[in-house]
């Protein structure tokens, strides 16, 4: 077995599918957003990702044994990638390589990563802003056309950053949507802001009322994953996202 394997339990037959990735990161913005998307639009589980680099655990839901990193699909040709565990730093590169190889095999047309942008003043922000990063001209054009403000300078750190690069190497257009969020608290408000932007990017219609109504319950349930993720992100030097790059043009 390679370091990371993508296992399809149901063959993917979509033409140029869109992938929405929500792996754990600051504020669990992507994880909360993508799990809500999967639940609300009734995606079905079509596969999973396995690796000896992941913690040696499985998840049990309704008595059924599941891998913590799973792939879902909808009839509209949207695939979603979710994880119920923090991605260990050592697994980031092998995971993103395996995923992007699979994207290429399945002729994925566009990848959207949803994540957070740590905002030290998040308490004062009522409506979190969402900025975008694209990995090619096509991706940047899509962001501009949908009115998403671009991140122009700075470091990006984490799985989504490497995923952008690996997609670029394989010619797969990809963007990351970063919503202002609490760095170390689960942030359903930021997830809602990111989903509004995802709606504009993909044409999906997502009713967000329940996400905001259940915000406190989500925060409570996501505490343990948030704690694991914060530890993992610290090892990835996530705090570098607050730094200024030295190069100037």
């Amino acid at each position: 077995m390679g370091e990371v394997s993508v296992i399809e339990e149901e063959e993917v037959r979509f033409e140029k599918p869109v992938v929405v990735e929500g792996l754990p990161d600051v504020g669990l913005v992507g994880t909360i957003a993508v799990s809500y998307l999967v639940d609300k639009l009734e995606f079905r589980e079509i596969g999973y990702v396995e690796s000896e680099l992941f913690p040696p655990l499985m998840v049990i839901h309704d008595g059924e044994l599941k891998s913590p990193v799973r792939i879902y699909g909808s009839d509209e040709g949207v695939l979603a990638i979710l994880s119920e565990v923090a991605i260990p730093p050592a697994a980031v590169y092998p995971l993103t390589r395996a995923l992007t190889d699979w994207f290429k095999e399945r002729d994925v047309g566009f990848v959207v990563s949803i994540t957070g942008l740590p905002a030290p003043n998040r308490l004062e922000i009522e409506e979190p802003e969402v900025v975008g990063v694209g990995n090619c001209e096509d991706a940047v054009t899509r962001l501009k056309e949908k009115g998403v403000e671009l991140m122009l300078e700075g470091f990006i750190v984490g799985t989504y950053a490497v995923l952008l690069k690996e997609c670029q190497k394989r010619g797969v257009p990809a963007v990351s949507l970063l919503a202002q969020c609490f760095p170390v608290y689960p942030d359903p408000g930021a997830a809602a802001a990111a989903l509004r932007t995802l709606e504009r990017m993909t044409g999906l219609e997502i009713e967000l009322g329940e996400l905001l109504e259940r915000a406190e319950e989500i925060k409570l349930k996501a505490r343990d994953l948030m704690r694991q993720t914060s530890t993992s992100l610290a090892e990835m030097q996530k705090n570098m996202e607050q730094d200024l790059p030295i190069m100037y043009r």
Binding site: Y185, E216, R223, D224
Partner: protein, 119 residues
């Protein structure tokens, strides 16, 4: 960054340990604590020179059926956290606010930084 705890974030006495963040600034320590399901009036904050204790009743108890490895119903009704402070603070000058489920406590330090003139 979040403190790297090795114990579970819940206790058999019905208390949950909240997520928190501590920022050690020049003249003060700022602690924020995430407290979902909590009303402002149900928060209690105790401070000594080197320790902060927060407890907060949840507005309704939260139950999970067949919780994790213990496989039984478990109910939580309160958050509780003790935080050892990295420097001495003045308890009389501590202030706190609560907004959108996040408690923010500002603890002025006893030994403040004094600017020295460079000659």
């Amino acid at each position: 960054m979040l403190k790297k705890d090795i114990w579970a974030m819940w206790r058999h006495d019905g208390c949950l340990e909240p997520l928190y963040e501590m920022e050690n600034r020049e003249n003060e320590i700022v602690v924020t604590i995430d407290l979902p399901y909590v009303r402002k009036d149900d928060i209690k904050v105790y401070v000594t020179e080197n320790m902060l204790e927060v407890s907060a009743e949840m507005r309704s108890a939260v139950s999970w059926e067949r919780w994790g490895s213990i496989q039984r119903r478990i109910t939580f009704s309160r958050f509780k956290k003790q935080i050892h402070l990295p420097e001495k603070v003045n308890p009389d000058e501590v202030s706190a606010t609560f907004k959108n489920g996040v408690l923010r406590i500002t603890l002025p330090k006893v030994r403040r930084h004094v600017p020295i003139k460079v000659e």
